[in-house]
C-alpha cells in the first residue's frame, strides 16, 4: 500500500477507451438481450392465446340460461350447466367449512406454540402435502370413504372432503406466513393487559392477521374450484341438480366441462367453452381480489 501513487498504473486504460475484445462482449450482451426478450414473447404467446380463445368461444355461450338450465344430450344445442354450478357451489361451501378453520388452527399451533419437534414435523408434512397429485387424493378419499368405512358411496360430501384435503395445506402455509408477520409487540401488549394466551390469539393475533388470512383462503378457494381429477373419483359427476348431502353422485363444473370437451359433438364442446370462460372468470376474480386485499393490508400496516 505504500507504493500507492497518484499516477495511474502503467497498463491503465481510460474509461472512454474500449478494452480489446469488448466488441465481442458487447455482441454477446446484445444477443442475450434479444434471446431473453424473445423467450418472454414465446412464453406469453400461448397464455395470451388461451385467454383470447376461451373468451372468444365462451362469450357467445354464457347467458342466464347457461347458469339456470340443465344440460341436454350433447348433440343438442342450448341448455346449460346448472347442475355443475349448483354442485360446485355445494361442494365448495362444504370444503371451505372443512378446510379453512382447520388450516388456520394448524397455523396458529405452528406459530404460537412452536417451534418444537411436533410443529416442524407438521410444517414439513404440510409442504409435502402440497405436492401430492390431485388424482391420488381422489383415490385416497375413494378408498377411505366411498368404499371404506361403511361405504358412503359417491356424493357431495366425499367430493367436498377431497377438495378440502387439496385446500388444507395451501391454507395452512399461507396462514402461517401471515401469523408470523404479526409483530411480537402486539402479543406482549396483550399479555401486559392481563390477557391469557388464548385471548391474545383470538382477540389480538388473529384480527391483526385477518386480511392476510383472507388472501390465503381465497387463493385456496380459487385452486379448489378448478380441481377436476379428485372429483371424478368422489363426486363422480351428474347432469341433474342433486341436493342430496351424500349417497348420490354430484355434478361439478370442471367434470361437466371435461365430459363435454371429450365427446365429438359441436354443441357439447361449445358449452364446454362457456364453462371454461365461467371457471376462468371465477378463478381470476378470486385471485385478483385476494391479491388486492393482501396488498391493501400490507401497505396499510407499514
Amino acid at each position: 500500500m505504500s507504493t500507492m501513487t497518484s499516477t495511474p498504473p502503467s497498463k491503465h486504460v481510460p474509461l472512454n477507451h474500449r478494452a480489446p475484445g469488448s466488441s465481442f462482449r458487447r455482441f454477446k450482451d446484445r444477443s442475450a438481450t434479444v434471446v431473453l426478450t424473445a423467450a418472454m414473447v414465446i412464453a406469453m404467446i400461448p397464455l395470451v392465446l388461451i385467454v383470447f380463445e376461451v373468451t372468444r368461444r365462451g362469450i357467445g355461450v354464457v347467458n342466464l340460461d347457461f347458469i339456470t338450465q340443465t344440460e341436454p344430450p350433447p348433440r343438442r344445442e342450448g341448455g346449460g350447466y346448472a347442475a355443475g354450478f349448483f354442485g360446485t357451489l355445494y361442494i365448495m361451501a362444504l370444503a371451505v367449512v372443512m378446510s379453512i378453520p382447520f388450516g388456520i388452527a394448524t397455523a396458529v399451533y405452528i406459530v404460537e406454540y412452536g417451534p418444537n419437534r411436533m410443529t416442524s414435523a407438521i410444517r414439513f408434512f404440510t409442504d409435502v402435502m402440497t405436492g401430492i397429485p390431485s388424482i391420488f387424493v381422489g383415490l385416497f378419499v375413494y378408498g377411505l370413504l366411498v368404499i371404506g368405512w361403511g361405504g358412503m358411496g359417491f356424493g357431495t360430501f366425499v367430493g367436498a372432503v377431497a377438495i378440502a384435503v387439496m385446500m388444507l395445506p395451501i391454507v395452512t402455509r399461507s396462514a402461517e406466513e401471515m401469523l408470523r408477520l404479526v409483530p411480537n409487540e402486539m402479543r406482549n401488549a396483550s399479555y401486559g393487559l392481563g390477557a391469557r394466551k388464548w385471548q391474545t390469539i383470538v382477540h389480538t393475533v388473529l384480527p391483526a392477521a385477518a386480511p392476510g388470512l383472507t388472501t390465503g383462503s381465497m387463493l385456496a378457494i380459487a385452486r379448489g374450484i378448478g380441481e377436476t381429477a379428485p372429483l371424478l373419483l368422489t363426486a363422480f359427476g351428474s347432469g341433474l341438480v342433486v341436493t342430496a348431502f351424500q349417497g348420490s353422485a354430484q355434478g361439478a363444473v370442471p367434470i361437466q366441462l371435461y365430459r363435454g370437451a371429450a365427446q365429438p359433438f359441436e354443441a357439447g364442446v361449445d358449452r364446454a367453452w362457456g364453462a371454461a370462460l365461467c371457471l376462468f372468470v371465477l378463478v381470476l376474480a378470486f385471485t385478483v381480489v385476494a391479491r388486492w386485499i393482501g396488498s391493501k393490508a400490507s401497505t396499510g400496516s407499514h
Binding site: Y113, P133, A276
Partner: protein, 334 residues
C-alpha cells in the same frame, strides 16, 4: 425485519401467579389442546393416505410383485369382485408419465429461467410489474381449461401442422416416426410445459428478486456487461431456487391428470415415437376408473400408490437439495 428498531423479545407465556384469578383457568389448556388436535390432522391424513391406499392396493402388489407391477407391460383387467384374475403391469403408464414430464421440463425450464431473467433485469419498469402479475395469475388457471384449449384449438391449429412438418423432416429418426395422430406423448408434453411455465417462472423470479443488489452492482463496477452479470453472478446465486422450481414443476407434471388425459390419446400401448399415443399413470386412473371392475379399481389404486411414491421422492429430494444448497451459498431459497 432486521433493519427495524430492536425487536421485542418473543413473548413468553405469562406465568400463572397468585395475581391471576382462577376463573377460566381451564381455557388456556383447552385452547392449546384444540389447536394441537387440528395441527395433527395433517399427520393423521398423510398416515391414513399411505395406509389406506397401500392396503387397498395390496392384493395387486402381492400377486404381481412390486417390481413385476412396475415393469410389467401387460395390462388386462379381469372382472372379479374378490380376487385378482387379470394381469397388471403399469410400465406403459409409468413410461407415459416419464416421457411427458421430461418433455415438459426440457421445454419449460430454460424458458422459465429466461423469462424470470427478463422480468427482473430487462423488462421496462412499466412492463415488469404487470407482466409478472399476469404470469402469477396464469399459474391459477385450472388444468381442465388447458386441456380444452389444447385439444380443441392448439392441437388442430398449431401442433398438428408442426408435427407433420417434423415427421416429414425427421421421420427417419426413431423419436419422430409417424404416423402423426395429433394426440400423443409430444402433444401432452408440450401442453404440460405451457401449464407449468407460470409457476416455475414465479418461483425463479422470487429467488432472483431477493438476490442482494450490492453483488450485482459490484459486478457492474468491475465492468461486466449485463449478460455477464446475469451469467456469472445472478445465475449461480439463484441455482438452488432454479433446482427447486424444476422439482416443483416436475412434481406438477408427474401428477397432472386432466390436461394429459385429454391430449395423450389414452391407449394402453407404449413406444419410442413421441407421436405415439399412450397413457400416463394419472390419466389412466382417471380414464378407466369410472367403468372399472372392483378388481381393476384395486389395480388402479396400486398405480396411485406408485405415483404417490414417485412424487414424494421428487418433492423430498427437492427440499433436501434446496436446504443443502441454501446452506452452502447462503441464499434465500424458497
Amino acid at each position: 425485519m432486521s433493519t427495524e428498531a430492536p425487536e421485542a423479545p418473543a413473548p413468553e407465556e405469562p406465568r400463572r401467579g397468585t395475581l391471576r384469578s382462577s376463573k377460566g383457568r381451564m381455557a388456556d389448556p383447552l385452547f392449546k389442546w384444540a389447536v394441537t388436535a387440528c395441527g395433527t390432522i395433517v399427520l393423521v391424513l398423510l398416515a391414513l393416505m399411505v395406509l389406506r391406499t397401500t392396503s387397498e392396493a395390496w392384493p395387486v402388489f402381492a400377486k404381481e410383485g412390486f417390481f413385476g407391477f412396475l415393469f410389467g407391460d401387460e395390462w388386462t383387467s379381469g372382472g372379479s369382485r374378490s380376487e385378482i384374475t387379470g394381469t397388471y403391469g403399469a410400465w406403459p403408464f409409468i413410461y407415459g408419465t416419464l416421457v411427458t414430464s421430461t418433455i415438459a421440463i426440457v421445454i419449460a425450464l430454460p424458458l422459465a429461467i429466461m423469462v424470470a431473467f427478463y422480468l427482473t433485469h430487462l423488462a421496462p419498469r412499466r412492463l415488469a410489474k404487470p407482466l409478472s402479475y399476469t404470469v402469477e395469475l396464469l399459474a391459477a388457471v385450472p388444468s381442465v381449461i388447458f386441456g380444452l384449449w389444447g385439444l380443441h384449438w392448439f392441437l388442430p391449429n398449431v401442433l398438428r401442422p408442426f408435427f407433420e412438418l417434423l415427421e416429414g423432416v425427421l421421420g427417419w429418426f426413431f423419436l419422430f416416426e409417424g404416423p402423426v395422430r395429433g394426440v400423443g406423448y409430444l402433444a401432452a408434453g408440450i401442453v404440460l410445459a405451457i401449464m407449468i411455465l407460470p409457476i416455475m417462472t414465479a418461483i425463479i423470479r422470487e429467488v432472483i428478486v431477493v438476490h442482494p443488489i450490492d453483488q450485482r452492482m459490484a459486478a457492474y463496477a468491475l465492468g461486466s456487461t449485463r449478460w455477464e452479470v446475469l451469467r456469472h453472478v445472478v445465475l449461480p446465486a439463484s441455482f438452488s431456487g432454479i433446482v427447486a422450481a424444476a422439482m416443483l414443476g416436475l412434481g406438477r407434471a408427474l401428477g397432472e391428470t386432466i390436461a394429459v388425459l385429454m391430449l395423450i390419446g389414452g391407449s394402453q400401448a407404449w413406444g419410442a415415437s413421441l407421436f405415439g399415443t399412450g397413457s400416463s399413470m394419472a390419466s389412466h386412473i382417471a380414464a378407466t376408473f369410472g367403468e372399472a371392475s372392483p378388481e381393476a379399481r384395486t389395480a388402479l389404486m396400486a398405480i396411485g400408490v406408485a405415483l404417490f411414491l414417485v412424487t414424494m421422492i421428487v418433492n423430498i429430494l427437492a427440499r433436501v437439495i434446496v436446504w443443502r444448497l441454501g446452506r452452502m451459498t447462503g441464499d434465500a431459497a424458497v
